[in-house]
């Protein structure tokens, strides 16, 4: 049986378009996108506005989820990493999570056939 994984990337919202296109070009068109907010190791960013200080600690980010057979995980990581990269802090994180079963609702296909 094929092992399967969900590759979950938290990226800069402005990078979504590029990541999406690169995944499709690499043969992985299917994905789910969620608007999220977050912060990483730099914690809050203190900003000044009209003389007052504000701690903007949750920045808008975009979660991209791609379910694939495990053998494609490194390829997906490489595509996301190279297109989401700017070199500045906050470029994002990728998490790989195991999936035990996949079902395509329309056909009832499972696992490898459903991906």
């Amino acid at each position: 049986m094929t092992k399967m994984c969900k590759v979950e990337a938290i990226i800069k919202p402005l990078k979504l378009h590029q990541v999406k296109d690169a995944l499709e070009e690499a043969g992985f068109p299917s994905l789910t996108v969620t608007d999220v907010k977050g912060r990483g190791q730099q914690k809050g960013i203190v900003q000044q506005w009209r003389g007052k200080k504000y701690c903007v600690d949750l920045l808008p980010k975009t979660k991209v989820e791609v379910a694939v057979p495990e053998e494609d995980v490194e390829k997906i990581i490489q595509v996301i990493q190279s297109t989401a990269y700017t070199g500045e802090i906050g470029d994002g994180k990728i998490f790989v999570i195991p999936i035990e079963t996949v079902v395509r609702i329309r056909t009832g296909e499972r696992n490898g056939d459903a991906l």
Copy 2:
């Protein structure tokens, strides 16, 4: 120890009401719902509007998450599949993900007792 899983379904938004009611009727009222966008194997859909072509490639979808003991996973899949089904493309996908620990915050109960 009971093994536990998260059943994560991406369905058509108009089907949420029916899926929710069917899960409750089957004895599974608890769930978490998220607005997401996504695309599957059909990639982008090209649409015309005022003579221009637009690639509408991320359609609104609804993510439904249900955490249950592993022995209930097939039942949940069957309930979601039969109620989210229309027979047309885009009906959605179900992913089953392992859960190691569950905690009910109010009582401190864990795992089977917390579900």
Copy 3:
């Protein structure tokens, strides 16, 4: 190799601020936040408005995700549980999910070094 986990908590939206601050104080500033809706074991709440009955069965909740080495999971649970607690129903649930790989996009660091 360090085992890693995602601690996923569904809490009351008004508790986000306190949970976030407590996690940071405990040494875990990094997190992802998503607006969700949900219901637990109490199912729908029937409310009256202008003489009509409405079943308000999906209440606004906040999902907080924190990826950490497995050895920190109990600490995170304890911090979230103690700050998200009010003692009333709907305080929320915590789910712990395994992570196989973590990548920091900016540096290419992996796993323990990326957390």
